[in-house]
C-alpha cells in the first residue's frame, strides 16, 4: 500500500478522492455533503456535465474531491465517457468513492468490477437506500462488503444520512484483488500484455483487458507508454488471443463478468414477494402517457405560470413600495437635479433605476418564484419524461436519439445542454445545438417571459410558446433537409424514478441559483445601465435609434425605445426582459408587441456562455455562423409573427 493511502497522512500531502458512478446516482449530492460546496443537483442523468474539483479537510488531512459526470463502465464506446476514464487513468486518485443507486444495484456492478481491477483503494456508497426499501428490496451491505473486500456504506444522500460514516470509511478505504478471473487463456494473455506494458504502468491489468476487448480508445492511452517494438508485440499478442477465441474475446469477458454480477446480486439482494404499489411508478407512467401526458404538461405549465404571475407580482409590488420608491425619493431629495441625479435615478437610464432596481425589484422576484417551481419539477424527475412524450415530434426533424434528452436539458440551462451533445453524430449535433440555442427558452428566459406575458393573459403566453414550437419544428426540418443524411443514432435513455420533492433541497438550489444570478448578473446590469446612459449622453443611442427606426417601427411594429432593450439583450437577456416588463407597465407596449418582444429576446443573441459552448462542440466557424444565422432569422421571424398577429386581429374584429 502506498504511503499516501495510509490511514493518517501528513498535512502537506493532499489526497485526491474521485466520486464515480452511474448517471443519476447522487454523486453530486455526496460531493456537496463531503465538501460543503454546492453544485447543482437534480433527479435525472447528465446534471453534471464537467468534472468539478474542490479542496477540503477530511479526517484531518487535506483532500481534493472530484465530482464526475456519469460513467457506465470503463470499456467505453461513447466519447462523452472517455474524459472520465482518462481522468482515472492519468490522475490515479488515492481513493475512489463509487456511488451506487440501491434501486439499480445490479446495473452498477459492472462498473464496480472494472474499478476493483484498477487496484485503487475504494469505498462504495450505497445511496438511496430508503428508496429501495420502499420498493421492497433489501441489500445485504455487510455481506457485499465481505464479498468485494471494500467498505460499503449505506447512505441517504438527499437527507445527508450516512455522510459521517462515509467520511470515516474514506480513511479506511481498501484495495481488493481483481474479483473476476477470466479463465486460463485470457488470464495468460493478460499476464503477457502486462509484462510487455512494463512494471511502471498503472492499471496495467485493466489496460490489458481493454486491449483484449478491442476498446477503440485504449490505443491513445497505450501509445505513449511503450516503445515501437513492444507495441508490435502487444498487437501480435492481442491478435493471437482473438484468433483463439474466434473473434469473440469481448463476449467471453463480458459473459464471465455478467456471471460474477449475477452471483453477487443473487447473494446480496432480497426482494419482497409482493411489490408494494408505487406512487412514483404510477406518476411516471401518467406523465409519459400519450393521452394523459399532455394535460399533465399543460397543468404543470399553468401552475408555474400562475405562481409566477400572482406570487411574483405581489413580491414585485411589495419590493417597489418598500425599496425602490423610498430610495428614489431619498436620492432625489439629497442630490440636486443635474448630471449626477440623471446618472443615479434618471427617468430613462439611471444606474440605480435601470441597473439595481431592474435586477432586484423586477427580475429577482420572478426568477425566485420560477426557480422554485422549476426546482420542484427537477427534483420530482419530471423533465426526462418529456423526452418520451416528444419523441415522435423530434423524430420528424431528424433528432432520433440521445439528442432529445439534450434538448430537454435546455429548459434548465442552455449552456449545459449544449455541452451534453458531445458524442452525437455530427448531423444530430448540429441540429440539436442550433435548436437549443435558438428555440429552447432556458429557465430564466421562461420565467421572465411568464412574468411579462402574465401581465396580459395565459393565452398570450401559450400562443407565443406555440409559435416557438412551430419555429423549432421549421428550423429543425430545414436543417434536416440541408445537412446530408448520416448514420442513425438511437434512443436508449434511462429515466429517473419519480419521487416527492425534497423541499429543503429545492430551497437550497433556488437560493444558490438566485445567489449566482445576483453575483454574476448584477454587475452586468449595472455596467449595461451605465453604458446605456453614456451612449444616450454622447448621442450614439439616438443615432442608433434613427438607424433602426424603420426596422423596429415598421417591421416589428414596436416603439423605437425597444432598441434600448435590444442593446441590453446583448449584455444579458434578463436585463432586456426586465426593461420590457417596465415598458409594459408604463403602457408603452401592447400585448402583441410584448409577444413579439418575447420571441425576439428568446431567439436573438444567445448568452455568451452558450456561444462559447456552441463553439466548443461544433467548432468556432460553425458556432459563429450559427449565431449570425440566429440573429438574422430572429429579425425576420419576429416581424412575420407580429404581422400575422395584426392580420388575425383584423380578421377577428
Amino acid at each position: 500500500m502506498r504511503a499516501k493511502s495510509a490511514r493518517a497522512c501528513g498535512v502537506a500531502e493532499k489526497r485526491t478522492i474521485a466520486i464515480i458512478g452511474l448517471p443519476n446516482t447522487g454523486k453530486s449530492v455526496i460531493f456537496n455533503h463531503l465538501t460543503g460546496e454546492y453544485t447543482v443537483v437534480a433527479n435525472y442523468a447528465q446534471t453534471t456535465v464537467e468534472t468539478k474539483r474542490t479542496d477540503c479537510f477530511m479526517n484531518g488531512c487535506r483532500c481534493e474531491v472530484i465530482d464526475t459526470p456519469g460513467l457506465h463502465c470503463l470499456s467505453i464506446h461513447a466519447e462523452e465517457e472517455l474524459a472520465i476514464r482518462d481522468l482515472v487513468f492519468s490522475e490515479r486518485p488515492d481513493v475512489i468513492v463509487q456511488c451506487i443507486d440501491a434501486c439499480q444495484f445490479k446495473q452498477s456492478l459492472t462498473l464496480t468490477c472494472d474499478l476493483l481491477e484498477l487496484n485503487i483503494p475504494m469505498v462504495i456508497a450505497l445511496n438511496a437506500i430508503d428508496e429501495s426499501t420502499r420498493r421492497g428490496m433489501w441489500i445485504d451491505s455487510t455481506g457485499l462488503a465481505q464479498m468485494l473486500g471494500v467498505p460499503v456504506i449505506e447512505t441517504i444522500a438527499t437527507q445527508g444520512r450516512g455522510m459521517a460514516e462515509l467520511r470515516a470509511a474514506i480513511a479506511y478505504a481498501a484495495k481488493s484483488p481483481a474479483p473476476v478471473r477470466y479463465g486460463d487463456t485470457i488470464e495468460n494473455a493478460i499476464a503477457d500484455l502486462q509484462d510487455l506494458l512494463g512494471e511502471g504502468v498503472a492499471h496495467s491489468r485493466r489496460i490489458a483487458l481493454l486491449m483484449c476487448m478491442g476498446d477503440p480508445f485504449v490505443g491513445n492511452t497505450v501509445g505513449p507508454l511503450v516503445n515501437e517494438e513492444n507495441a508490435i508485440k502487444l498487437k501480435a499478442c492481442v491478435t493471437e488471443l482473438i484468433l483463439r477465441y474466434r473473434g469473440d474475446v469481448a463476449t467471453a469477458i463480458t459473459y464471465r463478468r455478467n456471471q460474477w454480477i449475477d452471483e453477487i446480486a443473487e447473494k446480496t439482494i432480497r426482494r419482497q414477494k409482493v411489490a408494494p404499489s408505487q406512487f412514483s411508478k404510477t406518476l411516471g407512467h401518467l406523465c409519459r402517457h400519450p393521452v394523459f401526458g399532455v394535460p399533465i404538461l399543460f397543468m404543470f405549465l399553468a401552475a408555474t405560470f400562475f405562481l409566477v404571475v400572482h406570487v411574483a407580482g405581489f413580491l414585485e409590488i411589495a419590493l417597489h413600495g418598500l425599496l425602490e420608491r423610498p430610495i428614489i425619493a431619498f436620492v432625489s431629495a439629497v442630490v440636486p437635479s443635474g448630471f449626477l441625479h440623471d446618472l443615479l435615478v434618471g427617468k430613462d437610464y439611471g444606474v440605480l433605476t435601470l441597473g439595481l432596481f431592474n435586477a432586484v425589484c423586477t427580475v429577482l422576484p420572478i426568477l425566485s418564484v420560477f426557480f422554485l417551481a422549476f426546482g420542484i419539477l427537477e427534483d420530482i424527475g419530471y423533465i426526462p419524461n418529456l423526452c418520451v412524450l416528444t419523441r415522435r415530434i423530434f423524430g420528424k426533424v431528424g433528432l432520433k436519439g440521445r439528442s432529445v434528452m439534450s434538448l430537454m436539458l435546455g429548459f434548465g440551462c442552455k449552456t449545459m445542454a449544449t455541452l451534453t451533445t458531445l458524442g452525437l453524430p455530427r448531423k444530430e449535433k448540429l441540429i440539436a445545438v442550433y435548436l437549443i440555442a435558438a428555440t429552447i427558452p432556458c429557465s430564466a428566459q421562461m420565467g421572465l417571459s411568464m412574468g411579462l406575458l402574465g401581465r396580459y393573459s395565459f393565452w398570450a403566453f401559450l400562443a407565443t410558446y406555440g409559435m416557438l414550437i412551430v419555429i423549432a419544428a421549421a428550423a429543425g426540418a430545414l436543417l434536416n433537409r440541408l445537412i446530408p443524411r448520416e448514420d442513425r443514432s438511437d434512443l436508449i435513455q434511462e429515466l429517473p424514478a419519480m419521487r416527492l420533492p425534497n423541499i429543503k433541497a429545492v430551497g437550497i438550489k433556488t437560493y444558490y441559483r438566485l445567489y449566482w444570478f445576483l453575483k454574476e448578473a448584477l454587475p452586468i446590469f449595472l455596467v449595461a445601465a451605465l453604458a446605456l446612459f453614456l451612449m444616450n449622453k454622447v448621442g450614439v443611442l439616438a443615432a442608433l435609434k434613427v438607424a433602426l427606426r424603420p426596422v423596429v417601427e415598421k417591421w416589428f411594429g414596436m416603439p423605437v425605445d425597444v432598441v434600448d432593450a435590444i442593446v441590453l439583450c446583448v449584455a444579458r437577456h434578463e436585463a432586456a426582459a426586465g426593461m420590457l416588463i417596465r415598458m409594459a407597465d408604463a403602457g408603452k407596449l401592447d400585448v402583441f408587441q410584448c409577444m413579439a418582444a418575447v420571441l425576439l429576446t428568446t431567439i436573438f443573441v444567445p448568452c455568451f456562455a452558450n456561444i462559447v459552448a456552441m463553439c466548443k462542440r461544433v467548432g468556432i466557424k460553425t458556432g459563429v455562423a450559427m449565431t449570425l444565422a440566429m440573429n438574422a432569422s430572429a429579425f425576420f421571424i419576429v416581424g412575420v409573427f407580429y404581422w400575422v398577429l395584426v392580420f388575425l386581429r383584423g380578421v377577428i374584429s
Binding site: H77, Q104, Q107, A275, V388, L491, E494
Partner: protein, 252 residues
C-alpha cells in the same frame, strides 16, 4: 470456462457416474493425456478438487452442477440430432459438442419438452433430469417474440438481441439489458418504455423490433399450478368502477 475445461468437466462427470476418481481413469475417459494446467484452472475456479499425492480428482458441488448442465445439453443434443435431424456418422459427435456450447438454458428446456423428456442418450447413457422434466411439461409454451409484439404490461425474458452495433449492445448491457433478464413493457407509444432490473428505460421502436423475448406464460402460472416465479401483478384500480358503485348507491 473454455472448451477444454468443458471437455474435462464432462469427462469428470462420466467418472462420477461410474464412481471412479483417479487421474488414470480421467485419462482413459478423455482419451488423451491429462494436462496439469487445465486441472489447476478447474481447481482455482472451485469446480474440482485435485489431490496431487493420491492422484485423485473429483468434482465439487459447483462443478457437479455445472457439469450436469453440460452433459444434459450434450446428450439432449445427441438425441435431437439422432432422432429428429437424423444426423449419423462422423459429424454426429462433433456437432453435438458444438451444440452444447451454443444453446441457452431456456432453449434446452424447449428441446427437452419437444423430445418428450428423454431418459437416455443414443449411446444408452442417462440424461440428467432438468427442471422441465420435474414439471413434466407436455407442450412448449414459451415462444420467442419481439419486444415490439409484447402487449403493454406483459413480462418477458430477453432471449437475444439482434443487433450489429457494438456500442448499442454495450449500452444495453450497461443497463443490465441482456439475455436472461426479465423485462416488463410499460408503454409503446410515443416511445417504448421498459422496466429492467429496477431501472426504467426508454427505447426506440427500431430497437424494440430487434430484441427477442420469451414471453411469460399467461400471468406467470405454470400449467400444473406450480408457484409462479413472477410476482402476481396487483389488479389495476379503475377509478370509474368506484364511481359506478357510488352511482347505484345514490340511485337507491
Amino acid at each position: 470456462m473454455n472448451m477444454k475445461q468443458d471437455e474435462y468437466l464432462e469427462a469428470l462427470w462420466r467418472l462420477h457416474e461410474q464412481e471412479k476418481n483417479s487421474v488414470e481413469d480421467l485419462q482413459t475417459a478423455l482419451n488423451a493425456p491429462v494436462e496439469r494446467d487445465v486441472l489447476d484452472g478447474l481447481t482455482s475456479d472451485r469446480m474440482a478438487e485435485y489431490d496431487g499425492e493420491l492422484r485423485k480428482v473429483r468434482l465439487t458441488e459447483k462443478g457437479l452442477a455445472y457439469a450436469l448442465d453440460l452433459v444434459r445439453k450434450h446428450r439432449l443434443a445427441e438425441r435431437l440430432l439422432h432422432d429428429v435431424l437424423r444426423v449419423r456418422g462422423e459429424g454426429f459427435e462433433s456437432e453435438a459438442c458444438t451444440f452444447e456450447h451454443l444453446v441457452a438454458p431456456q432453449v434446452v428446456e424447449g428441446i427437452c419438452t419437444l423430445l418428450g423428456h428423454p431418459r437416455e442418450c443414443p449411446h444408452g447413457l442417462p440424461i440428467p433430469e432438468g427442471e422441465c422434466c420435474r414439471r413434466s411439461e407436455q407442450t412448449i409454451s414459451t415462444s420467442v417474440v419481439y419486444l415490439a409484439q409484447l402487449e403493454v404490461g406483459e413480462v418477458g425474458q430477453v432471449a437475444y438481441i439482434d443487433c450489429q452495433d457494438d456500442a448499442q449492445l454495450h449500452r444495453l448491457n450497461g443497463l443490465q439489458f441482456k439475455p436472461g433478464v426479465e423485462v416488463k413493457l410499460h408503454q409503446k407509444y410515443p416511445a417504448y418504455v421498459v422496466e429492467c432490473e429496477g431501472g426504467i428505460i426508454a427505447i426506440d421502436e427500431w430497437i424494440a423490433k430487434r430484441i427477442l423475448l420469451w414471453k411469460q406464460r399467461g400471468r406467470g402460472v405454470y400449467e400444473d399450478g406450480a408457484v409462479p416465479h413472477v410476482p402476481e401483478k396487483p389488479a389495476r384500480k379503475r377509478f370509474w368502477r368506484r364511481g359506478r358503485r357510488y352511482g347505484t348507491f345514490t340511485r337507491e
